[in-house]
Symmetry: C2
Subunit: 466 residues, 2 copies
């Protein structure tokens, strides 16, 4: 029979990954440690007010492979493996010889890759004795994923949602409430930090940095000691959990006879979506494979392409440890572009170091090019995707057209991080011609450099090598 | 290895259905014909102003199996087969010995089962030479599916959307626009019918019946002859296309060693979601299998459980042929419940006859019981489902609890028709305690009887047998 169905690859029970991959074990240079406000490396104990010790152990682990507990596998494989699909119709529309494959992470109940780490984080917290988890959320993807995971395991979930999103995206809030999550507009009057932000500006729209400050405070000030904080990206253990994406993708590609992709692409806000797909391929690159690895960010929040690699806080109030990363400065307030998940001043230390080592080559793209790519995607491949994911599609189109110019049959693999069902207002604005591009002025970078220069640093030289 | 992943069954390329199943070939009594306004059976030619002849042939076909063209299979299998999953976590929460399986139709790009017929309808139209397709949509599921399908095949799509939904559900409208569809609030000033509805009541919220009248008029009055109308449910060929759901389900159940389900459940608005899953099992029941088959409807729009089986119009203006079906009268305006897809005065003739023959036993459920079921679903199985699908889940819970009482290990199979990402306002109202139940007064049924008694009929006796 010559007729062939569109390519969609799943995995059998004996093929699914049973271990997460820890890139820290293979990076050419060791990771720089997180620092306390005194400039001294943080001990695991110092983090224990915020996180349960079993997750802290993962955070600092140097082991290459970490076994996934079976109960976690059972929960993740309610919807995993996410299918590996080939975007034949986009290839045809572009007339490219490239073969475009993608992992479809939109299939989770929360609609994105976020439950890949929300499920393990809640599981480890429950095992540790945590009863309530606090977190922050911007556009709402992470809050939804954590509320969903807490609902499965019977933990309480308290989410500080950036006020402007809370008001503009009521649907995300209702999703969290449906899963039993308590969703609070941030800044709120519930925390010291929130009250102080409100005192400074009673009409503040809030920010991710402010919401992190509130969620951390809510965890550490709970006297019962059974409240912990959870972060949806940036940290090592979060990226570790997300590597299930790339590990699945490798097996799925092998199943259809593809030994390695030539190009790996994913959008990066805090870095977990990118790290999740890319790190298992970064390992191959370290071992000598010829793979181009591209994290994609918005041109209006160009952390990786124009940010500074140094120590900075994860939040705006300076309550978190100092992390070695690409940053636009913790005071940077990104433009209100529609890819809410990519509006973050910093970048995961593991992703930052991958860039510093020359193992990944970041790229920034303007939002109208991304929405144009998303519309082409909807009209060829069908799905309406998240504005975040559209950054990966836009870069994929750039690479596919480059392959066309070069006449090369490259294999491109990208991560489709989530659906856009909660992001249709952005599509509407684009279709009405109301979206504009925006370039970050150089003065902002210089101001950030000024802000950052007096923060503590670990033995790092000017080029970011150590 | 004793550890088992959650059950999700897919199909290999050689296992997928290659033919649709036509229940009309197996029903104990032949189907009553559609009638013209003069009471005479309609000829296929009389329908040709509205539909292309290749679809009319399917509409009147008596062949049991109709081959699915390979191009249609290729398009459907971008996302099909929809997974067959077992709802183990709901079973555990209910403490039932029943095994609950479901088809997850939410995986299509439009988010429901609707593309199963939108794709073939557009394909046959294109083959016939149609350039533009008109249709109506209520909540927007059907309009989205048709716009998506037209976008894949390069046809223009014009959708008359019930005005109140157009205003209350802007996201659905944006989805249609993203796929290039033209979405117009109905009643509009674009058609004679629309202008007359507006003249009668300039502030009318519109209705599905009015929108059908406009879409049919827009098709038949186009002078180029290349505009046709498309309907998303009710008609024989629509239900035929949807049988791919039940045919897949049968193979998927067999793959895990289940010869037949004991109970088959699906919600029914126009009837295509129910018919799609159930008809292949109705065939088994006709052949002697012991299967309980339950179409579920809202108690506030009780077409099957309290409606009259007689001839009635499909739309409110009386522009469509008369169809033999359960109906609450074409003047019936259902309460604004949140399951927009179940607010229809009539029912597919094939489903109606299945009920008349005693092959299916309809059930009506109030919306608060349905939302309660949807919340339990979200907190056990994870997904946030459409309010329409929640009717099937509510009936499934009733049956699972009955099995618990009886101590029977029944196999229940139901159809999860779509996700609820565009329906979160309904969830919010329910969570806030603002949703109420509503029982249709008997006086409405009596008024419908009065309205209907003078319409033409075919040789049908009082009991609905012939």
């Amino acid at each position: 029979m010559p007729f062939k169905l569109p390519i969609k690859v799943y995995l059998n029970e004996d093929e699914i990954p049973r271990q997460w991959y820890n890139l820290a074990a293979d990076l050419p240079s060791p990771m720089l440690p997180p620092l306390g406000p005194d400039g001294k490396p943080l001990t695991p104990e110092a983090l224990s007010a915020v996180f349960p010790m079993n997750l802290i152990e993962q955070e600092v682990s140097q082991e290459r492979w970490i076994t996934i507990p079976e109960e976690i596998i059972e929960m993740l494989y309610r919807w995993r493996p996410s299918p590996l699909k080939r975007a034949v119709y986009l290839e045809q529309a572009l007339g490219t010889p490239a073969k475009i494959y993608y992992k479809d992470e939109s299939v989770s109940p929360a609609g994105s890759h976020k439950p890949n780490t929300a499920i393990p984080q809640v599981w480890y917290n429950k095992k540790f004795g945590t009863k309530t988890i606090t977190t922050e959320t911007g556009a709402g993807q992470w809050g939804s994923a954590l509320a969903f995971s807490c609902s499965l395991m019977g933990l309480a979930c308290k989410i500080f949602m950036v006020r402007i999103s809370f008001e503009q995206k009521p649907f995300r809030k209702i999703m969290m409430q449906t899963w039993g999550g308590k969703c609070i507009a941030s800044p709120s009057t519930e925390t010291e930090a929130g009250r102080s932000f409100l005192k400074k500006d009673p009409n503040t729209p809030g920010s991710l940095g402010m919401a992190i400050s509130e969620a951390v405070e809510a965890a550490v000030t709970d006297k019962s000691g059974t409240t912990k904080y959870s972060l949806g990206s940036v940290l090592n253990h979060v990226l570790l959990h997300q590597t299930i994406i790339g590990l699945e993708a490798k097996k799925q590609l092998q199943k259809i006879g593809i030994k390695k992709p030539d190009v790996v692409i994913a959008c990066a806000g805090g870095g977990s979506n990118f790290g999740g797909l890319a790190f298992p391929f970064v390992a191959d690159k370290i071992a000598g494979a010829n793979i181009e690895i591209i994290p994609v960010e918005p041109a209006s929040c160009p952390t990786m392409t124009r940010g500074i690699f140094t120590y900075d806080f994860g939040d705006s109030a300076g309550m978190t440890p100092l992390l070695p990363m690409h940053t636009l400065g913790h005071n940077f307030v990104p433009e209100p572009i529609h890819a809410g998940g990519l509006r973050y001043h910093g970048m995961a230390p593991l992703v930052s170091q991958t860039i510093v080592e020359g193992l990944a080559t970041p790229r920034a793209i303007q939002q109208t090019e991304c929405f144009k790519a998303a519309i082409l995607w909807a009209n060829t491949e069908g799905m309406i995707i998240a504005p975040e994911s559209s950054h990966a599609v836009a870069a994929t189109i750039q690479e596919a057209l480059k392959a066309k110019e070069e006449g090369k049959e490259k294999v491109i693999l990208f991560n489709l991080s989530g659906h856009g069902h909660m992001d249709l207002a952005g599509y509407s604005k684009f279709l009405e011609g109301k979206l504009t591009d925006w370039e970050l002025p150089q003065a902002n970078i210089e101001a950030a450099e000024q802000d950052l220069k007096d923060l503590p640093k670990a033995k790092m030289n000017k080029t970011g090598k150590w």
